[in-house]
Amino acid sequence: MARRSTDTRAMIDRYRWWEMLAIYAGLCLFLFFMLAPFIEGFLVSLKPLAQLFSSPYSFWPENGSFKAYFTMWDTVPGFARYVINSFLISITSTVIVLLLVVPAAYAFARFDYKGMGLVLGGFLAVSMFSGAVLLIPLFRLMRSMGLLNTYFAMIIPGAAFLIPSAIWLLRTYMMRIPTELNEAAYMDGASQFYTFRRVILPIARPGIIVVAIVTFIGAYSQQFIFALTFNSKTEYMPLPIGLYAYFGKQEVIWNELMAASFVGIAPAMVLIFFLQRYLVGGLTAGAVKQ
């Protein structure tokens, strides 16, 4: 009698035990490199401040506690505000980017016109500059427009630098939507805007969510540099600048700083986690027969 295999994986996905071991070892090594700062940061947040400067340095916290997660709110009373500011800036940037990029990407994907390649190339060139290179001209621009020390000073440049890559990303996605859907809608008497709203937007939803996630992360991570340069008002500070408040005159309260970092990024992590689940749902919807 022939031996029956209970393994349901495809042949191409089957590995020997030592291959599996090597794969997981590689994964662990890679993950450790990426996560080491987070691990160390989390362990620091659990340690009492005195233990941080003890010699020899102990990696694992002795009598560790979550005390820093409670005291951090008293040390910097405006901390919650900084987190909210961060969110406000990132979400507003994302909304602005989406409002501009979704119709623009559709136009770039569907319509052919003179100079389109030049404009797209221009977008690519702009996205090669980081905001830091343009800080001084931007500062003068913000000053002459009277936008310094406002939320707009952090939102507008942030959004502007995120638009090019978002257009490229979404254009590629929208080009995959068959032109025949437009033609079919046109045959049925639908206008360009009707087709865009009722046909293209719903189908492009997974792509739009990807762009929203990328833009949100981008806005969240790049707000530091704009906040540092264009804003000096404490109440408008976003999280990365707000963390500086834990740098005292005499000493840095490391454990509370680390705790604050984790508390600060937690809402963003939760948000992205849920958006990703939503993204997978969007991708499995029935598509057109190619």
């Binding site: 859907l181 079919a184 046109y186 045959m187 049925d188 008497g189 046909v199 919807a285 057109v288 027969k289």
Partner: protein, 373 residues
Amino acid sequence: MGQLSLKTVIKTFGDIQVVKGVSLDVTEGEFVVFVGPSGCGKSTLLRMIAGLEHTSAGDIVIDGKRVNDLPPVKRGIAMVFQSYALYPHMSVYENIAFPLRVERAPEEVIRQKVNAAAAILHLETRLQQKPGQLSGGQRQRVAIGRAIVREPEIFLFDEPLSNLDAALRSDMRIELTRLHKQLGATMIYVTHDQVEAMTMADRIVVLNAGYIAQVGAPLELYHKPQNTFVAGFIGNPRMNFLPVTCTGVSDAGVEVDWQGSRRVIPVEPRAGIEGATLHLGIRPEHVTLERGDFALRLTPSVVEQLGQQTIGYAALPGREENFCFVLPGTRVIEDDKPLDVGFAAAECHLFDAEGQALPRRVDLAAMSVPPAL
């Protein structure tokens, strides 16, 4: 209503002329099939009628009105696409209702029309499903449903069955013919599949390189092709062509000489072709194992057994193309062994050096059901 006229319609893309002056009249309720090899302009012609492509020159007239500059919806036409072009995020119901929603029809009217279309297409139980959950044939029916609800005078089909597997294709062919009878609308259908053309069409338009090669009823194209292109395109496997010399013209037909055998082919005589080289056409299915008016010995290099018929291919000396023959039923034929075959002069087609046919004397009326008076 549903009468369509094309008047020397031309389409150019840049410097390339794709449709080179096509004139055609389609009467109301007719099922017309555009057929031709890829790149012959059939799809472009359909898209111009649809209003998806601009017409470079010439007029498109529907019911006496020039529609060149009208958008599709004002032409009273609906189109079914090869890829179905269903909206993947909408239910079957919403897909079919889409044209009605565009024209802001009342909810009651929409429900009634969608249900009526679903009943015609046997989609009643599928209305709440998404296109992704349907089979290819069902998706195609949804696409047709979306065309039906607009109650167009002319339906356009762009290779609607080419994404389906063979069994489903023949089912859908029957279904489309039934639908045409039921709706009585004018239908224009593009395909490269001659079986679809032969079985469904009232009239077939054969296109070649941007021109109409011939327009006619399916059997007319089969029995009286006007040129070598149509003769070779209609019929599968394609017609064999043999070079012959004209030796005489009489009332009975044209006498030709092929490798020493002289026979009279019953075609309309034409003066002044004695001595000229002509092309004799014989369809593979008309070749028999008996010695007919013409006999030839050939050595089949490949023999295909289909059970229902036996197909052989043999090289003829001095000819590039294989000579093909189709014998009914299962025959024991060895490849690479000489075989004597023949064919009757009455089954032959004759073409002049330019490829134009000398019309055959075939009574087409005897082959079709007489039209009801």
